[in-house]
């Protein structure tokens, strides 16, 4: 079986304005959503209490919320968790109360609704720890981006390719952030690690395409850059799509079967992998072209002696 039996010949470069437009639109929507709606930060980052509970029968979310309010828990957020027999309760930081005190109070509310209800997990994160985790996550993202920028700068011989790769690398986590803020999906620590994995992983398509561009230019430096870029992307297209399809198979399996705890994590991976595939096919090379990429930028030319160095 082969999906790409005949060599493809899509005109990626001549249509690049269209793809730029799409990307810019998505990035703008993402950034706007990020600033307007913000992220639905999990207790990992805000501090507070997160409770998961299982009930013997379907539970009424409103009754649960009212019960919590009567028990003195203000601003309780309650939602179903996977099924109507499971609920996630999110509480703001409870002044100085320890986990077992909170647990006792929550147990009281749950048992009033369903004597066989059971708390399956309870997290109490101090606001100080939340702040630290937040700054740790931001540091991790910045450190990863910085290291990858350094790698790109060293790896590609011209800033034109580096610039294309960097924009493509930034593009993907921005879309993940945008999607999480638009859908208000809970943004927790595993999501951050998924984002970092995406930053690392999505670049590898770009690297493969750029490798091919260099190879093509080496073959013939007379070729038009537009043609070389188009051919390079087309030649690596089957590989780019195949690897991503296979990775998506396992990540979708994780999303569907991995349970609630990994939903956000696998969602971030799915969005990131899709965005990464798109950006490495449509964006990174096109940007290099618009920066004026030519054969001589990639190939070492004979070294001329600088005139200034002469006595």
């Amino acid at each position: 079986m082969e999906f790409f039996k005949t060599a493809t010949n899509f005109p990626f470069m001549s249509t690049r304005k269209l793809w730029y437009g799409l990307s810019v639109a998505l990035v703008v929507v993402s950034i706007a959503s990020f600033f307007v709606r913000g992220l639905n930060l999990a207790v990992d980052f805000t501090g507070g209490v997160q409770v998961q509970a299982t009930f013997s029968n379907a539970v009424n979310i409103d009754a649960l919320r009212t019960g919590l309010e009567h028990a003195g828990f203000r601003e309780a957020q309650v939602q179903y968790l996977g099924s109507s027999r499971q609920a996630a309760i999110r509480l703001p930081p409870q002044n100085g109360q320890t986990g077992d005190v909170i647990r006792g109070r929550v147990d009281g509310v749950l048992h009033a609704l369903d004597p066989r209800a059971e708390v399956t997990s309870l997290d109490v994160v101090g606001s100080q720890v939340g702040d630290e985790l937040k700054s740790g996550a931001i540091k991790a993202v910045i450190a990863t981006l910085a290291l990858i920028f350094i790698y790109i700068a060293l790896r590609f011989h011209t800033w034109r390719l580096s610039f294309g790769a960097i924009l493509a690398v930034l593009h993907d986590p921005i879309l993940v952030l945008g999607a999480f803020s638009l859908w208000h999906t809970s943004f927790d620590l595993p999501v951050v690690s998924a984002m970092l994995a995406v930053i690392g992983y999505s670049l590898n398509d770009t690297v493969v395409v750029f490798d091919r561009i260099r190879e093509r230019f080496e073959g013939s430096r007379r070729l038009e850059p537009v043609a070389v870029l188009d051919q390079s992307i087309n030649q690596t297209l089957s590989r780019t799509i195949m690897t991503k399809v296979v990775t998506l198979i396992v990540v979708v399996a994780l999303y569907v079967l991995g349970g609630q705890a990994l939903k956000g994590f696998s969602e971030a991976l799915i969005i990131g992998i899709l965005a990464g595939t798109y950006s490495s096919i449509y964006i990174s090379s096109a940007i290099a072209l618009d920066c004026g990429l030519k054969a001589e930028h990639l190939l070492p030319t004979s070294v001329k002696k600088p005139i200034d160095a002469l006595p």
Binding site: M1, E2, A7, Q52, N95, G96, T98, D100, R103, E118, V119, T120, S121, L122, D123, V124, V125, G126, V129, G136, K139, A140, A143, T144, L147, I148, Y151, L189, P190, S193, L196, A197, I199, G200, Y201, L203, N204, V207, V208, D211, Q235, S238, R239, T243, V245, V246, T247, L248, I249, V250, V251, A253, L254, V256, L257, G258, G259, A261, L262, F265
Partner: protein, 623 residues
């Protein structure tokens, strides 16, 4: 012609053989188990193991097997019912000597365990348990030290007949001078004599002479090194104490580790009742033994609202009691404490060290027929938030737990009565495990129920299984025989990764399983890169063997390059992340490394076996 050096075949075969061996214990699953340890912390021996086994058999509790592990006995059971029955038997009839903890044990054959092959330990999110992150009040520890210097200075100066007006303590970041004591002397006092006297008992302290409003002053400032040393000491002491307490509680495979400069991370697998555990772990409590002040009237003192000089007023269930300030002994001087049921109700049997014993002997000899009190002192911290302002204050509760007439001269061994059974047990435990040298309070607390843990592992493993199966089917359809090679290589990758994680004793958490799944995707990537390249070469009418060789050679740089960036992200997470996130990073980083090994070497070995040598090939089964 397609060739692959023989030594590389040998290398691949050897690595895979080793990997299979190390990964093997993970595939047997676990049994419910009971860990039994000696209460006196001595390691269990073969004799004790048989004794416990016989007691259980005598009570008709069936177990699958038992062995000694790190001085503790592990008993495996066929069912949770048997496990719980066994625990009850140990707690009923052997409670004086042994403590037990519910746990799980690998079903892997004894022989594997004997040669050190063990399954990966499971994280709390996969087995249920309690995670606590404690903040240690290291500044409080420094303040405590200053306070003890303060008292020491007062004693030294008083006994040397050197007058002083006042000693002021400066502590904390808000004070003008951090961590210092200022000794104010009356006008005309011999400041050098005072300094020399203090220096004699505390040679490592530095004093500087100044002048105050009413006379000369002496300033003792702690150096940053001294402050740091004190903080480290407090942290390490607390870790030791917490370890002791955790061991006393009977938790199997606990983790107590330092995190950052002033945090302690405690992981207690299988613990569900967090109230009891946290109460004991975080308790800062000690005992003081004091004589009753019988010369003064306690009721009178209560009425006046203050105690006479040298005494302190206490309230013992509504009745006022005056106790001498002078200490006979303190909890620090205890070497052992056990609780038991005595004739007069529950009691704690206490053994003091030499110093404490001498003091007890001296004091009780002089005071027979007078009364001695045991004061229980507990420190806790209250945090309250008013608006945005957060304020914490330390609360010290002092309670007389017993006030009894000294009937005979006591030395280093005696009993304390007047407690409830629970109080006696808890007090004995706290005394044995040592006191916390600085207050701790939980800043993060996560409880995972055992059912959620079991569900997490079940779902994670199922996602891994079904994801891999889907990839297998896809690869076989799309790349035919090459696809099967890729599948075999993929399987080898998971085995190799499992082996590596088991060797490193890395804890497997849910994000770790996710990492394995993601690694499957990445490992396939490398194979796809190679195969697509081979197909491309074939399209260019290259001979099959040349195409295969070119595929591997040309894909090499792309595989290497494309993995570097994922490796960067993995390493950053490894360094910065903690807990489960670090687990993910470890798996991702190692997974990238193993996938490069399996796809570049393993895959090439298999394909060369299939298509290599001098045979003539006119078709490659690559779809």
């Amino acid at each position: 012609m397609l060739e692959f050096p023989r030594w590389k075949y040998v290398l691949v075969a050897l690595v895979m053989l080793l990997a299979l061996m190390f990964a093997l214990p993970n595939f047997f699953g676990t049994d419910p188990a009971l860990q039994v340890a000696r209460k006196n912390r001595l390691p269990m021996d073969e004799f004790a193991r048989q004794a416990v086994g016989q007691t259980l058999s005598g009570r008709a509790v069936a177990f699958r097997g038992s062995y000694l592990d790190d001085g503790k006995m592990i008993l495996r059971f066929a069912s949770v019912a048997d496990q719980l029955k066994a625990r009850d038997v140990v707690n009923d009839s052997m409670a004086a000597d042994y403590i037990s903890a519910l746990t799980t044990a690998s079903r892997a054959p004894e022989a594997l365990r004997r040669i050190g092959l063990r399954p990966m330990p499971l994280g709390l999110d996969l087995r249920g348990g309690l995670y606590l992150l404690y903040q240690v009040d290291v500044n409080g520890a420094v303040a405590q030290l200053l306070e003890s210097y303060d008292q020491g200075f007062r004693r030294t100066l008083a006994s040397a007949n050197l007058p002083f007006t006042d000693i002021t303590t400066y502590t904390g970041s808000k004070s003008a001078i951090p961590n210092a004591l200022r000794i104010s002397l009356p006008a005309g006092a011999d400041v050098n004599a005072v300094r020399d006297a203090l220096k004699k008992s505390n040679n490592d302290l530095t004093f500087s002479i100044g002048s105050g409003d009413s006379g000369p002053t002496l300033l003792m400032e702690m150096t940053p090194t001294q402050v740091k040393a004190r903080q480290d000491y407090a942290l390490q002491k607390n870790i030791t104490t917490l370890r002791n307490r955790v061991n006393e509680l009977g938790v199997s495979e606990p983790i107590v580790a330092q995190q950052g400069i002033d945090r302690i991370n405690v992981q207690l697998p299988g613990v569900q009742n967090s109230a009891e555990v946290k109460d004991i772990l975080g308790k800062v409590a000690t005992l003081e033994f004091r004589l009753e002040d019988s010369q003064n009237n306690a009721a009178e003192a209560k009425q006046r609202g203050r105690a006479p000089l040298g005494s302190k007023l206490y309230d013992m269930s509504g009745r006022p009691v005056l106790l001498k300030r002078e200490l006979i002994a303190t909890g620090d001087q205890l070497t052992n404490a056990t609780s038991s049921a005595g004739n007069e109700g529950p009691e704690v049997n206490v053994t003091l060290n030499g110093q404490g014993g001498d003091s007890m002997l001296r004091n009780t000899r002089l005071n027979v027929n007078r009364r001695m009190a045991v004061v229980y002192i507990e420190k806790s911290r209250e945090t309250r938030t008013v608006g945005d302002q957060k304020s914490t204050r330390d609360v010290t509760t002092e309670k007389i737990i017993s006030l009894a007439t000294i009937r005979a001269v006591l030395s280093n061994q005696f009993r304390i009565t007047g407690l409830t059974a629970v109080e006696a047990r808890e007090l004995a435990l706290l005394m044995r495990s040592g006191s916390l040298s600085a207050p701790i309070f939980a800043v993060e607390e996560r409880t995972i129920g055992p059912s959620l843990g079991a569900e997490n592992i079940r779902m994670g493993v199922r996602a891994l299984g079904i994801g891999m199966l889907a990839v297998f089917v896809f690869m076989a359809l799309y790349y035919q025989r090459f696809g099967w090679v890729a599948n075999l290589v993929l399987l080898a990758n998971v085995v190799l990764l499992t082996a590596l994680l088991s060797m490193l004793r890395a804890t497997l958490s849910l994000p770790g399983i996710a990492g394995i799944i993601l690694t499957v995707g990445i490992a396939v990537d490398a194979n796809v890169l190679i195969y697509e390249r081979i197909r491309e070469e074939l399209r260019n009418r290259v001979t099959p063997q040349a195409a295969i060789r070119a595929g591997f050679d040309k894909a090499y740089s792309a595989i290497f390059d494309s993995n570097v960036t994922a490796l960067i992200a993995g390493l950053v997470l490894w360094v910065i992340g903690r807990g489960a996130i670090r687990g993910f990073a470890v798996v991702l980083t190692l997974g990238i490394a193993t996938s490069m090994f399996t796809s570049l070497l393993g895959s090439r070995a298999l394909i060369t076996l299939m298509y290599g040598g001098r045979r003539k090939i006119d078709h490659v089964s690559i779809g």
